[in-house]
């Protein structure tokens, strides 16, 4: 029971981190109809900028400044890159963001090299918050949870309760009408793109110390983020939240409980073949859940796409 609680906290941390990325991505998708492949790259940039700033000014200034820089960069990419490519259609837009993701990874390697950066948890938060039957929970994890929830509540408030949020929501569904009412829709798009990438930047700043700041970090998380918003339903903020938490918990639990395929198959009445070592299914029989934890999201996505193509909370297919 205690172990479940510990894993739940871990799952929550992973899930909320995923949500900070997928929230921005799904907003950008519903706005421009294009998936930003470079989204996780902005997350990586956030971590690297925060590392660089934290050397000079400390962790907290990094948390404050790095997302701002990332947001401005993101807005610049929208203004001078995506808007230009937009005229060619959706597929070139996707390809553009894909190329951008490659380019940012190479750029990061160019500036910071291929090794992991010594970006670590600040001393203020480097202690054990509490322990659950011998399993200590670091304070930094609690800090991550509170930051993520705070950002989610803030986003929800801005989007649903403020005038700006209303205009954004209207611009998402009826850009022409909103434009006719005198609002600067391209500016709104640029702003939403900037805020979305800044959110990814925040995620990078707080994830960098625990998950490691290295050039592959965008790639590791990137495709999981896409999977998340596809499972949640493209363009749905609530879907992104549910799917993020689902994936976070699923992978954490699969990693910490060693469930063997052999036991599962035996339990449902399939007997282990005698000549297991020669069987072509031997790898299938010896599967364990930690082994497949990282591909569970993809399996889930394929299943969702087959049985409910619009995703968990999606309204329509495309």
């Amino acid at each position: 029971m205690d172990l479940i609680l510990v894993n739940l906290i871990d799952g929550l941390v992973t899930g909320l981190l995923l949500f900070m990325l997928s929230a921005g991505l799904t907003l950008i998708f519903s706005m421009m109809g294009v998936l930003n492949f470079a989204h996780a790259s902005f997350y990586m940039l956030g971590a690297y900028f925060a590392y660089q700033i934290s050397i000079a000014l400390g962790f907290w200034m990094g948390l404050l400044i790095a997302p701002l820089i990332v947001g401005v960069l993101g807005a610049g990419v929208e203004r001078y890159g995506l808007r230009r490519v937009h005229q060619y259609g959706h597929v070139p837009e996707l390809i553009f963001t894909f190329g951008l993701a490659l380019l940012i990874e190479e750029l990061v390697q160019f500036i910071w090299g291929k090794n992991q950066m010594p970006y670590s948890v600040p001393d203020v938060l480097n202690f054990t918050a509490f322990a659950i039957s011998g399993n200590s929970i670091p304070a930094y994890k609690i800090f991550m949870i509170f930051i993520s929830i705070g950002i989610f509540l803030g986003l929800l408030y801005v989007l649903t309760k403020t005038r700006v949020g209303m205009i954004i929501q209207a611009a998402l569904s009826y850009p022409r009408t909103v434009e006719a009412l005198g609002h600067n829709v391209p500016l709104i798009f640029m702003g939403v793109f900037g805020v979305g990438t800044a959110l990814a930047g925040v995620a990078g700043v707080i994830a960098g110390p625990v998950l490691g700041t290295f050039p592959g970090m965008a790639f590791v998380l990137g495709s999981i983020v896409f999977v998340t918003i596809v499972i949640g339903g493209l363009g749905s903020l609530w879907g992104a939240l549910v799917a993020s938490l689902l994936i976070g918990c699923l992978t954490t639990f699969a990693k910490s409980y060693n469930i063997e395929m052999e036991n599962v198959l035996n339990a449902i009445g399939i007997l282990t073949p005698d000549d297991l070592d020669d069987s072509i299914f031997r790898d299938f029989w010896s599967l364990t859940s930690p082994q497949i934890a990282d591909i569970l999201p993809y399996i889930l996505m394929v299943l969702i796409l087959i049985f409910r193509p619009a995703g968990l909370f999606g309204k329509r297919l495309s």
Binding site: L35, H90, I95, L317
Partner: protein, 431 residues
Amino acid sequence: MTDQITTDPAKAVERLRAGSMTLSLAPWVIATVVLVFLPMVFTNNSALTIMNQMSITIVFALAYNMLLGQGGMLSFGHAVYAGVGGFACMHIMNMSDFFETIPLVILPVFGGLFGMGLAMIVGSFSTRSAGTVFAMISLGVGELIAACSVIIVAFFGGEEGISGNRTYAQPFFGVEFLQQIEVYYLTIAWLIISAALMYLWSRTPVGRMANAVRDNPERAQFLGYSARWVRYYSFVASGFFAGIAGGLFAINYEILTEENLNTASSGVILLVTFLGGVGFFFGPIIGAIAFTLLQTVLSLSTELWAFYAGVLFVATVMFFPGGLAGLIMMHVPAFKLGKASWLFVPYLKTLLPAAIGTLGLAALVEMTFHLRHAATGDNEMTLFWTTFDSHDIMPWVIAGAVTVIGLGIAKVTAPSLRDAWNEANTAGGVS
């Protein structure tokens, strides 16, 4: 839906092609002759390796363009079909009883069939819609299978992959494919066959409907065609030819690893195809040739070649969405008007300084990289056949000056190039 990439000069080409049968056959004959006689020009083994690599990339890129260019479907996991085809071929190579009874030349067919089989399974749910959803499914499936490669060791061989020996096959008219040159002729034979088949496919009603579905799926459905099935056929055919490319890879390298399946390989093939130009059939061919050369030449001389490739890719998407083929075909109207020669001098005036300026910029990039990442005390670096101290101020001044002057001249002469371009593309006009 605006999922199309069209370049206007296409129409000019159509008219040109419709002109005569000889004109449409000529490029094929010339290409075949060039391919056959190429090994006599470049005789050493490393050149053969590059040419084999190039041929395989061409087949793969053409197969990829069946999806991207002709069908409007963007796949982020197409390396999987080539990879699975290659792995299947590898397993056939290792089944010595069976392998001894077939000649090596037909092995790629098995690769193609396995690629096609996988495409049939995946396509059954992924081709329901094009655009973003298709791209996402392709990415997910690609990641899934790439991740499986380290889990399902029996088929994918885990980390070290699987290897085999092509010479155990039944000799084909006495040829045992011991030498690289024999493999080269096998590869180009398959290259020509697959290219011709893919070209003919694009001329069949199914290929034509793929274009229609790409441009306007709704209208195609009103005409009575199921957009989904049209996409499915394109997808399956593309999987087949990708599998052939994988089979050729297996024959050529005799080893396949996880690297042949992962997203990075899928990204490379997207880059190759887009660089060449998706709007034309021959685009991917140009892209594959250019990219392989670029990769070979650049990776020998600089660590940063992936960075340059990324810059080139993003620049292509932003400024030349038609790719290299699009750039070439832009000049067709000028040629038909007989004014192409007018462009020569303006091009020289703009592009030569621009190229020199770009090289200067690259030098700056290389020097920055050296300054930041070279071991301490290692100040010497060699660039463009000159060795100097990267911590000196002089090389920086020179490189900076070359960059600024080169790009500056290009910027100044650009308007006259634009004028010349407009002039050359206007019918009539005396001056």
